[in-house]
Symmetry: C2
Subunit: 434 residues, 2 copies
Amino acid sequence: MPVEHLQAVPHLTTALNGPLLQLESLLLAEQTRIEAWLRGEWRKTPAPFYASVDLRNAGFKIAPVDTNLFPAGFNNLNPAFLPLCIQAMQAKIEQTCPTASNILLIAEDHTRNPFYLESLATLRDIIHKGGYRVRIGAFGADMTGPRVHRLGPGRELTIDPLSRQGDKLQAGDFVPCLIILNNDLISGVPPLLRDLDQPITPPPDLGWALRLKSEHFRHYRRVVEAFGEQLGIDPWLIKPLYRHCEGLDFLRREGEHCLARQVETLLEEIGRKYDEYGVDKQPFVVIKADAGTYGMGIMSVTDPAQVRNLNRRQRTRMSSMKGGGRVDRVILQEGVYTFETWGEAQSVAEPVVYMIDRFVVGGFYRVHTERGQQENLNAPGMHFQPLAFAESCNNPDEHRSPDAEPNRFYTYGVIARLALLAAAREMAALHTGG
Amino acid sequence: MPVEHLQAVPHLTTALNGPLLQLESLLLAEQTRIEAWLRGEWRKTPAPFYASVDLRNAGFKIAPVDTNLFPAGFNNLNPAFLPLCIQAMQAKIEQTCPTASNILLIAEDHTRNPFYLESLATLRDIIHKGGYRVRIGAFGADMTGPRVHRLGPGRELTIDPLSRQGDKLQAGDFVPCLIILNNDLISGVPPLLRDLDQPITPPPDLGWALRLKSEHFRHYRRVVEAFGEQLGIDPWLIKPLYRHCEGLDFLRREGEHCLARQVETLLEEIGRKYDEYGVDKQPFVVIKADAGTYGMGIMSVTDPAQVRNLNRRQRTRMSSMKGGGRVDRVILQEGVYTFETWGEAQSVAEPVVYMIDRFVVGGFYRVHTERGQQENLNAPGMHFQPLAFAESCNNPDEHRSPDAEPNRFYTYGVIARLALLAAAREMAALHTGG
């Protein structure tokens, strides 16, 4: 990674940043109250094992748009902050399984994606340097023996096939005392993982086969309402508005009408908030599958008519899911403009924040040179340049301006942890049926 | 701090580094076993709140010579690793007092030492950035109101007088829910601290008024015997031999004979180990007060005759203690050569390692231009140049040579944590009377 990438932070290319500066100032001034509030929440609802949260910074608002409980992309973090990851990992593993010593990391199925393999290798190193023996395993009928991937000079990654002896899962001859999932289980919980004697984290029922984005944002809405009330913040400044539609069949054009109506209502709702804050921009809505990491299609629309006149190709894309399922439920999310740009080319830059347990351990920007401010930069097949955060997210400096680097990163870390708290509540609700 | 100070690591100026390279290689190869062993020990005996450990690196051995449970010098740590300190502090405070929100830091008495004030300010910032309200208080009849120290442009430090309302200690009008001691209580536990309703950490009975160095090294000896047995390491390679003498009165020349005899025995013991390892150096012994941070006098001797012929001035110095007490008990510690040097002037450099809870969070070298390899660089009034560790101590790199920077720092961190474990056992013994 070029050194200059570590030295700067994207610019906000909008004059509409009054509310954000106010928000950043407030978060900075209220840091001890915020941290005390979060500590209280983690006592009630422990944080997930790890997570990454995609943020959008529009200058006039900043909000999470996706919370991944099986994060990849660890290779994009600033190597200078690996010690922070190692320390947080030690704390989290000891809390999850105090006597663990052998750890199995379950990777995505059938992956040969070099970026993902680099992320796995970084995650393996973080756990290993924390003082654990680590092996990586994967599901798949094609896994007949260990698979060795060469990553670079002297670096390799071995993925072992998984098997089961009674109640114990093993990878090759390695019997773990703790299993860490880095597989979003998009196709459901495999029989090999059921009723194991070994602890698994995050719990397999948080896999995307069962999890709904709308459920996450329902929890997120409650989190930011409570948080906003504590601090006197309009929750809209830190959340995307959303709606969802069920019983869809894009191919048969079933539910199109309902979808168009929801888009219309949501656009109006966004419009009213834009008016309130004097935002002179066109509201837009992002439509994606409610289940699954992402559908094959993600649409960004500014008019309900756009969902009524989908062509055959668009309908096919919107209806098919990663992993092969059929999309019958979508989430309509307020589109949040991305007004952070990087470099002379003013490439759009989106922050992604990483957490291990309740600790923010780093992040990076997805810098994209080809897409616009309204588009989704995490779409399938998307290429981006990672730009590691130059500083940590836990070291704000009250003597500097509210949007100085360490303070901007602190803001990111607060918003990302609010999304993490929503995920923690999702997890708790799954286990209590609440 | 000049940038070049962060870029390099002192050199070992000895050819006698065979055993150390072997030791470093072993620690690196056995990292997961070491960490698993330490985790098991921390479960049995929780680590102290924080500590700093002075190490000596002779090339042929590396050993702790002092373990401070009320550490100063936080200002000398690499600012790049403050996030690591903040995160460890958050974890430790939550474990010590989950609901804490207001924290009182008790400083040394009557201090105007600018270096100590900088350390206090750094410690305050670490706790504050962890998300707590912090105030600093101090004892002393001269403390009639808040005292404001200006530290630099825009930075100040306020020290409040302490008072008591019933079972609660307060600093000014600030009532803490947790009290952190950064005062070694050399003159005993002040009445203000007795039978408080608020938790205090580290416990006041670990203050130097009650703690004995020989007790620490008795625990340390047991720690390294167990550790050495686990890994097949001669414990001598990581511990200083020691003895102690009681019932001394330097001024009346009482106990001089016993002292000389112990020096002689210890020198012989060291000599035998030097022979065993082919170390062609003169054994020496360091004599210091067994209680207290340090006596006013610290002697380094190579011959028993040197303690029989003390002149009046030497006897006065050896008998008086910081805080005004009389030294009647000394520890005789194997002198460990310092073969780490820094810069073209080959200044002697001694590592000091910092821990918060069980986490190694950084360290620095005391670089001294005027003293020799046998002398104590932490003597009263000593000046040194701090040289912050360039890397963290938890990120070893098995692909590099065993004494590459990150691996040397990992070694320091292991040895320092063995001393920390000894301190944890001291603490546990105090509370069980064991």
